[in-house]
């Protein structure tokens, strides 16, 4: 229910944008995320951006996972 994947906005033309998804490009709609800017990563579901990804939160989450992994490797 809701396959959505991160895509990088490369250019914007009105309510549409050219987005890059891991090496391929596709025209996507910004009808649901008009605030998206060039350089943003957005979650794309069936060709529509549904959310601008919060990169800071992404980094924080990964940092937390990294710390847990280090703790598991060396509990001391």
């Amino acid at each position: 229910m809701c396959l959505a994947i991160p895509a990088l906005i490369k250019s914007i033309n009105g309510k549409e944008a050219e987005a890059e998804i891991g090496g391929i490009s596709r025209c996507i709609s910004l009808w649901l995320a008009p605030e998206a800017k060039i350089g943003d990563y957005v979650l794309v579901h069936t060709g529509y951006a549904i959310s601008v990804i919060d990169r800071v939160e992404a980094e924080d989450t990964l940092r937390m996972f990294r710390e847990m992994a280090e703790l598991e490797e060396d509990p001391n």
Partner: protein, 334 residues
């Protein structure tokens, strides 16, 4: 003369002969074909491999190739996978009335170039034209004959526990390149089909060592389906490591977008080889020295176990079943 194929081009009369003369004989020169007898007649001695395939690809022209190139490479590859040196092909067209002559010329040109690269001759052929709407532009059938050198025994039932599984390069390129042009799914990519004749690569592998148990090209249904076929034929378990499977970034991205997995996507210029462990590295080296094997990699091994099963060790280290493809790989939203 008009620019479209007419029913008369397939009726065996003057227009058919003109088509053969101007379009086919001009490019496919060889002493067998030019006799224009009802059958190709030639001498062959030894163990023969014989195969046939029909090509109904849509669209006919895709990034990196077309139906013509596919028709040669597909049949050459089927022969090569049995260890045969491909020699002669038959070529049959079923053309839809109204098909553009210029497109037929492009496809015949591709067939000619692919046959030259594969070093095979088109020795016999047939042309039929059907009413508009009865063929999707053009269908092609090729059959092929090759000779298997002495001492070569390659078969899907030869895999043994302990054997290594090698793939000759990145998977999913052809299927995703074709999908990128399909109405309703269009996306941009520099990705091209990997369509290629593999007899040169197979020959280099066998020069390095004749100890190849199995070879197969993972066409429709992808890597996973072909591995399942091999596991069933040999009654073994095949265990694959996800992080060892070479996948281009574009194929990865397209699959993520469409909800597909790269190992279910068609390839037209790749092979899977199953090789005893002690010969794997020399064969791998020979593959990587060939232009169609540069990204060859060992991706798993054969184990004794549940016969006919393929399992995958995921990037996380867990295991899951890797089943055959069911139905068509349809893009999903869920």
């Amino acid at each position: 003369m008009g620019d479209k194929i007419l029913m008369a081009h397939g009726s065996g009369g003057k227009l058919t002969h003109e088509l053969i003369e101007n379009n086919f004989l001009k490019l496919f020169h060889n002493s067998v074909l030019t006799k224009l007898d009802d059958s190709a007649v030639f001498d062959l001695c030894g163990k023969l491999a014989f195969t046939t395939d029909s090509y109904v690809v849509s669209p006919l022209f895709f990034p990196g190739g077309d139906a013509g190139k596919l028709a040669v490479c597909g049949t050459v590859n089927d022969l090569s996978m049995c260890g045969a040196n491909p020699l002669y092909l038959s070529l049959a067209f079923i053309i839809e009335e109204g098909f553009a002559k210029v497109d037929l010329e492009k496809i015949v040109d591709s067939i000619h170039l692919a046959a030259m690269e594969a070093n095979v001759e088109i020795v016999t052929g047939d042309t039929k034209v059907v009413n508009r709407g009865c063929a999707d532009g053009l269908f092609i059938n090729t059959s092929g004959i090759g000779l298997i050198p002495e001492g070569i025994d390659i078969s899907g039932s030869n895999a043994k526990p302990g054997d290594k599984v090698i793939v000759s390069g990145t998977i999913g390129d052809h299927g995703i390149a074709v999908l990128s042009k399909r109405e309703g799914l269009i996306f941009s990519t520099r990705l091209e089909s990997d369509c290629a004749p593999l007899n040169g690569l197979a020959s280099e592998m066998l020069k390095a060592s004749r100890n190849v148990h199995c070879m197969r090209d993972p066409t429709r249904g992808g890597l996973a389906t072909t591995l399942n076929e091999l596991a069933q034929q040999s009654s073994v378990t095949i265990c694959i490591e996800e992080d060892k499977i070479p996948v281009r970034e574009e194929v990865f991205g397209a699959c993520e977008m469409l909800g597909l997995e790269p190992w279910y996507i068609a390839n037209e210029g790749k092979l899977i080889a199953i090789i005893p462990a002690e010969y794997a590295s020399e064969i791998l080296k020979a593959m990587r020295n060939h232009k169609y094997g540069k990204n060859a990699a060992i991706i798993g091994e054969v184990q004794a176990g549940y016969p006919g099963r393929v399992v995958m060790k995921t990037v996380l280290g867990t295991t899951r079943i890797m089943d055959m493809l069911v139905g068509d790989p349809l893009p999903r939203i869920c």
